[in-house]
Symmetry: D2
Amino acid sequence: MIINMREGASEQEIQHVVDRVKEAGYQAHVTRGTERAIVAAVGSNGRRHELQALAAAPGVAAVVPIAQPFKLVSRQVKPDGTVVDVGGVRIGDGSFVIIAGPCSVESRDQLFSTASAIKAGGAHLLRGGAYKPRTSPYEFQGLGLEALELLSEARRRTGLPVVTEVMSTEDVELISEHADMLQVGARNMQNFALLRRLAKTNRPILLKRGPSASVREWLLAAEYLLAGGNQDVVLCERGIKTFETETRNTLDLASLALVRELSHLPVLADPSHGTGRPTLIAPMSRAAAALGADGIMVEVHPCPERALSDGPQSLDLDGFSRLMRSLAEPLRAVARGWDRS
Amino acid sequence: MIINMREGASEQEIQHVVDRVKEAGYQAHVTRGTERAIVAAVGSNGRRHELQALAAAPGVAAVVPIAQPFKLVSRQVKPDGTVVDVGGVRIGDGSFVIIAGPCSVESRDQLFSTASAIKAGGAHLLRGGAYKPRTSPYEFQGLGLEALELLSEARRRTGLPVVTEVMSTEDVELISEHADMLQVGARNMQNFALLRRLAKTNRPILLKRGPSASVREWLLAAEYLLAGGNQDVVLCERGIKTFETETRNTLDLASLALVRELSHLPVLADPSHGTGRPTLIAPMSRAAAALGADGIMVEVHPCPERALSDGPQSLDLDGFSRLMRSLAEPLRAVARGWDRS
Amino acid sequence: MIINMREGASEQEIQHVVDRVKEAGYQAHVTRGTERAIVAAVGSNGRRHELQALAAAPGVAAVVPIAQPFKLVSRQVKPDGTVVDVGGVRIGDGSFVIIAGPCSVESRDQLFSTASAIKAGGAHLLRGGAYKPRTSPYEFQGLGLEALELLSEARRRTGLPVVTEVMSTEDVELISEHADMLQVGARNMQNFALLRRLAKTNRPILLKRGPSASVREWLLAAEYLLAGGNQDVVLCERGIKTFETETRNTLDLASLALVRELSHLPVLADPSHGTGRPTLIAPMSRAAAALGADGIMVEVHPCPERALSDGPQSLDLDGFSRLMRSLAEPLRAVARGWDRS
Amino acid sequence: MIINMREGASEQEIQHVVDRVKEAGYQAHVTRGTERAIVAAVGSNGRRHELQALAAAPGVAAVVPIAQPFKLVSRQVKPDGTVVDVGGVRIGDGSFVIIAGPCSVESRDQLFSTASAIKAGGAHLLRGGAYKPRTSPYEFQGLGLEALELLSEARRRTGLPVVTEVMSTEDVELISEHADMLQVGARNMQNFALLRRLAKTNRPILLKRGPSASVREWLLAAEYLLAGGNQDVVLCERGIKTFETETRNTLDLASLALVRELSHLPVLADPSHGTGRPTLIAPMSRAAAALGADGIMVEVHPCPERALSDGPQSLDLDGFSRLMRSLAEPLRAVARGWDRS
């Protein structure tokens, strides 16, 4: 940490900061400029938050961190990429994983027709919502347990491991019995009670980026999981909120490349939520493959215009086939191993 | 709802939409333009989500809602403003309520010195965090039960009712025993499991706006509470995320005026989180008073530079006194009753 | 400037940075932490951009500025607030200046009826667009010279000095003959050719904040004017672009308070563009007054539903009267001199 | 256009809207719902802005457009993609065009070493700034005419056509003598005086997207050029402003795919400005290629740490070679013609 003093800060104020830096467990190095001084706090075992609070000390202009605040998720700590095994499917090993399925599980027919179609098309994992976070209380909230049982059955039939969202600490146990991977939705990315509970499961976690979360906040949310004991974390970028309204969100593909640089965790793109427009799903999926993402998550529904949620951004079964064909060529290129950096 | 057809949509596609509109429980009125047609869905008892899904039907360009999606929070439904009673303090009756206190409860001394100072300065409610949502797992997470007991004791000593944040459904009962009002933090605004649980308490709720929540999403989060049975909801704007980095967030004061227009619920401003800069708290508080907000929530700490959380944006005890003096004149003007529209 | 070295940067890399810092005209102070080193560049007469470019040097993690990049607009350089005289109206002297008028000058009748109504209502300056920046080439682009002549005539009739927008270097001379103050619109805030030209006029400038300009970029745009020789600059916040769509823009009132802290230049709010909703103009104007703004700029039209531009956000003549009545009480409070800090 | 009436709007108010719709040159169709009415304006030859202004009429809730406001840039008007010829290089014909060069032209050596390196690496066009838009007046503003002459010479030596930015109407003629393509920078995207002037040149235009411009606003800026007579327009996305600060901007790749859908104009990505981080340039370039962009524009400098502008985001000559190698495989995949939709 660097503590920047204000122009004209007194010697007493500088000394006070030096004393507090030492009190916090660091060494203090003062550099005096022509107009202002800075105090560098040196060491790695001090109490970081005590330095941060010095922003409120007299004569201090700002406290500037010089290191990233996350540890266990950092690639510095673990240079090799993490591979997460989800019911036998490996995410992060250089392959490109396709997670597909309906936004919500609505019925046996809807789920099973989708599951067999995506299986035939080449998907690796089945997604489907049982408990749905909905902006309005008057919208469809998911079938709950019934959906979980249908997902279990779909897995038995197709062999596809299942991903589903968990919204509450109270549901973790039940959902873990039925799902191979637990998803933390974008709106719950900083639901720390939920993160702490999920750190204690033995299920891998799919952690979606919050719509206004910085990459740093996202990685710190993952840090909650790793610090709590769960190393099997896959990140998923699903678009951030910006001023642009032609797309539902702005899919921040650069964040995927950046996360691969900063962290060893695998990272996926969700072009369905990320764009909200079916016509943009194939091009953004190809883009994700080309930049080195570990896979995608897409919404597929046998009849999008009858979907109880997110129909307008879902692919129909034909659309999913076309997507997979459109991905074939770039994935062959990926497989030939272009430089993924 | 209006369903806009694409240019060149076929008669068959238009007819299909008409059929689906009727199926959803509405009447369908078609208007044919020179280049495109629109289908209006008329009625108020149909299944709204079935119309929304038509965005995915062939030939449809967009589905445009023409009514606001919230009901119980709407001023149309209840023209008179709601007054929420929090331990005898009335919010929403035209007065300007001051909620003050430390970000986190850190110790007996810290809490009691703050509580008596804000009481003396004219605050109406005491805030203090017992369970803290923190971006990093390595930051101070709150004293938990010990903090709740200190808050209870502070209430007995000062007579100030207490507001504290609840982060998890599992904590609702315990916190309700100690606090007069339960706060839903910005990051939990769309934690629907928590909202549903809080709808069943008999405690009033302070619902903070999420950092990337639109006014519409915020009101729909409140709708969860009202629809679930809890009418005592106070809204609080605490800044949204934008590109501006000189302030911690961008305090969207216009949203307060807009919420007063759209809803009957009282609404507060939180200039501490909203700006992150102590020097901006007084001017933004005066602004909130002048535009007709029902009060403010501010962070106060006896020694901000030693605070375990949010020190840099906290007022010290002197700063709180100055804030109250700075508010005196505009509040007299408010009291004389300028047009609050 | 602080140059943060990467973890594991070599001695050679550190030495290279030290050499380059000296080459750029600064002293270099190295502080070695347990994991990384920092190099502080000390001095005030070096070549700042050479330090910035070091972000690209081997072993460097980041270059962090510790001083604000603007000079002449800074309150540190000139602690007393600047007062700008616009045809006898003083902006920045503690009074609250009202600039009102139509978005575009459309006709003699429209302009003169508006001008006399706002004069009667208590406005100090008349605004009206002659050359209009319009998003689409098919929208009304302004009456040009005819509008300028009408504005001149309106000034003669009412005595109100005139503000109008200049969009191009080529129009500066002509517009200066007819207007008392030249406005730089939000979309031209970083039209540096225009700023450089306006720095050479003897007319005061109203510099609107760009819709995605940070406060720092806005003040640097003003710095172009001051550095080029024009000291008579008034700033105007008119809303920034965010994800919120219920309001046309998000009026960033905190930026006004912040600008007053950082700079000596007067600063206004434009609640018409800032909100896009007539019902929000009065509350946001009162808020601006209460926080210490130097005035407001509002759009007024005798018949908003027939306006050729910005009708939906314009007040009609009655609405303007109501606004002025709604402001009376807070302005009396301001006049009694509450603490403006 | 659809005019949504408020709930409870009177018959008189509805009739007034109907009259005004007809007055504006449209037919009016009224649909009465159970709670509110809508009025559809039918026709394509009316005065659109008169409908928009009805948002201010009594009883009106909102005016909702149902067609895109641009015409000449629309793919509906011209289904085949436009191919723009820049000194013999064709942009938009299915190939992937590489524009590379330094942010600013700084010296003969710097420009010529860069130009020959990018030529050798496979670039198609040379970029280099002669007149630079800089946030601060104290930063390097470009070499002006000297730079233009160096660019001309670099073209003669390498055969690479030249792209350079024009900031002012006054410079258009001079720059046109030296450059093959004129760039409108992001901050000038809505400098309408400049757009109108450029519509009259015979040089192709590279129109960068403004940092807070929606796709719609961007296409309307292009519409100014086409409507004014210049059909040779290439669009370039260079990142939008969002809350994320780890990257300089957020490169909105979905906007490229969307622009290809809405418009016939070619569209490029600028990953240098779009990310501000050299390590992200290669992955984002591959992504742009994979989604169907017509090319990229990247900043290259022989010694980024000595660059007078944008050094930290520039590739060095080696970095450019690596970029081109990293692109080879995806470009072969593109060449084999995957579905570009």
